[in-house]
């Protein structure tokens, strides 16, 4: 017996035969190698049976020779099913539309949850997210990667120490750790102020304590500036010496700058391509044709589509191709020196605390060799040079000696 599943695919026809000698007709059909099954009798003169759709033509010949009448009464299987599907295409369309809608909605952002943030920070984060395009109702494949969001957030929102970004289904979860900056209790232990750098003192503002040095004095690192021991020689009192001691310090900076240099920059020309990636096979959706960039960089951004919480093998890939250009920069000597100075200034500012002032600058040495400008510059800086140093018990008799000892170490 042959497998009837295959004939189901090809199509099955139910035939009704009426008349005399139906048995003879059946024998004739079997001799013609037509597969017949489910033969049933209905009353005295009629039988029905099923045949394959491609055997229908073979039935007509024997039917004409016999005294029976045949009628095809029922059609089933592949081609007929497809035909019915076509006539009821509304249902199919509805099903497909439903599936597409679910697929689309599964890939949208439906919630943003922020945990562990104070209201102010939360507001800031939400604002930043809105700027990044993370909003409720946005398709997820237009949004940057989770890692990128995390990096951007930590960069942009100053109050964050760390933020964990997780995309669970259609909801973004943000776990926030804020920088804790408690108010420092302003309790001072007994302390001296000592110099941190070699400097000339320009200005002194002492809140408490006894000045040991005066303006225009040269000090060495570790040298006592303001003593925390006040009072008469015999009965000295310990206080916390506080104050601002501005000293003039010098920094030497070496800068080198080539006169000619080449850079790789993006020209701003770019081409975007969208692909549908179905388990490895790429199908372009948008952005056809080749780019005409000679030098370029490619960036791939892949977003896996999801159904509810399950991943589908379908991914939307965005490929951005940016044109790269080589730019030549050449300076005249004068310009180069100016640029080098700027560089040096920037460099020095990075090294200094924020409240330091650059008082003056002087080029010590300038040379142009092998197409390079070499500068060594001396900067005159005014900055706070005081540093607190606790007074340790037992040393209170002679704080000055102790500090001198420190400075040499």
């Amino acid at each position: 017996m042959k497998n009837q599943w295959i004939s189901g695919l090809v199509g099955i026809v139910r035939v009704k035969v009426t008349g005399k000698g139906v048995e003879r007709f059946l024998n004739q059909l079997t001799r013609n190698e037509i597969l017949i099954w489910n033969v049933k009798r209905h009353g005295t003169e009629a039988i029905t049976f099923q045949i394959k759709l491609n055997d229908v033509k073979k039935v007509r010949g024997p039917a004409r020779q016999s005294e029976c009448k045949i009628r095809f009464i029922e059609r089933a299987g592949g081609p007929f099913f497809l035909q019915r599907l076509w006539t009821n295409s509304g249902f199919v369309l509805g099903g497909v539309a439903f599936f597409a809608l679910i697929l689309f909605l599964s890939n949208m952002v439906w919630g943003i949850e922020i945990k562990g943030a104070s209201p102010a920070t939360e507001y800031q984060i939400r604002k930043e997210l809105k700027e990044m395009g993370v909003k409720i109702g946005k398709p997820q494949f237009t949004i940057e990667n989770v890692d990128v969001i995390q990096r951007e957030l930590t960069d942009q929102v100053k109050a964050l120490t760390w933020v964990g970004v997780e995309l669970r289904g259609t909801t973004y979860h943000f776990q926030v750790v804020e920088k804790e900056e408690p108010e420092k209790p302003k309790i001072y232990d007994a302390q001296n102020l000592v110099a941190t750098k070699k400097a000339t003192i320009v200005k002194m503002f002492v809140e408490e304590g006894e000045k040991v040095v005066s303006i225009h004095d040269h000090v060495k690192p570790g040298q006592l500036l303001v003593s925390g021991l006040i009072g008469k020689e015999d009965e000295k009192q310990k206080v916390a010496a506080r104050g601002e001691i501005l000293g003039e310090t010098w920094y030497k900076s070496q800068v080198e700058l080539p006169l000619e240099s080449t850079f790789q920059v993006f020209s701003g020309e770019e081409k975007r391509k969208f692909y549908l990636d179905i388990s490895g096979a790429e199908i372009p959706i948008w952005g056809f044709g080749k780019h005409e960039f000679q030098e370029y960089e490619e960036e791939l951004n892949t977003h896996q589509l999801k159904i509810f919480k399950w991943k589908t093998p379908i991914a939307v890939t965005t490929k951005t191709i940016r044109e790269r250009e080589e730019v030549n920069r050449s300076y005249s000597e004068k310009e180069a020196v100016k640029r080098a100075m700027d560089l040096a200034r920037k460099d020095i500012k990075n090294q200094l605390p924020e409240d330091a002032i650059v008082k003056g600058e002087e080029i010590l040495h300038q040379s142009i060799n092998n197409g390079k400008v070499k500068l060594s510059i001396l900067f005159q800086i005014i900055e706070d040079i005081a540093k607190s140093q606790p007074i340790i018990q037992g040393d209170e008799n002679d704080g000055r000696n102790k500090n001198d000892g420190n400075s040499t170490s």
């Binding site: 139906v22 079997t30 190698e33 017949i36 099954w37 489910n38 049933k40 039988i47 049976f49």
Partner: protein, 94 residues
């Protein structure tokens, strides 16, 4: 007369040489599964079919199957699979 002689010789040969009789003598081979299925090989055509009775032509004589609610599940030139409730299987020799 000649046909009978050949039959006799075949009969004798199958007995003596222990050959399968259905092959040697064109006899029907009937397989039944309880009362619900009957599978007949080596028939020579359908003579009558109703839901209570099926008559098959054999090389020698006829085979009559009686029962209820017969459906021919499949029919090929020499094979037939019958389904229903089988009560009797009768050989008719004429």
């Amino acid at each position: 007369m000649a046909k009978k002689w050949s039959q006799l010789i075949r009969n004798w040969m199958t007995q003596k040489m222990e050959l399968p009789p259905d092959v040697m003598m064109d006899l029907p081979r009937i397989t039944m599964v309880g009362q619900i299925h009957i599978y007949i090989e080596n028939h020579r055509g359908l003579l009558a079919f109703s839901d209570r009775e099926v008559r098959l032509l054999l090389e020698q004589g006829q085979l009559l199957v009686k029962g209820k609610a017969f459906v021919i599940k499949m029919i090929l030139p020499e094979e037939i699979l019958l389904e229903g409730k089988i009560d009797q299987v009768i050989y008719i020799n004429e």
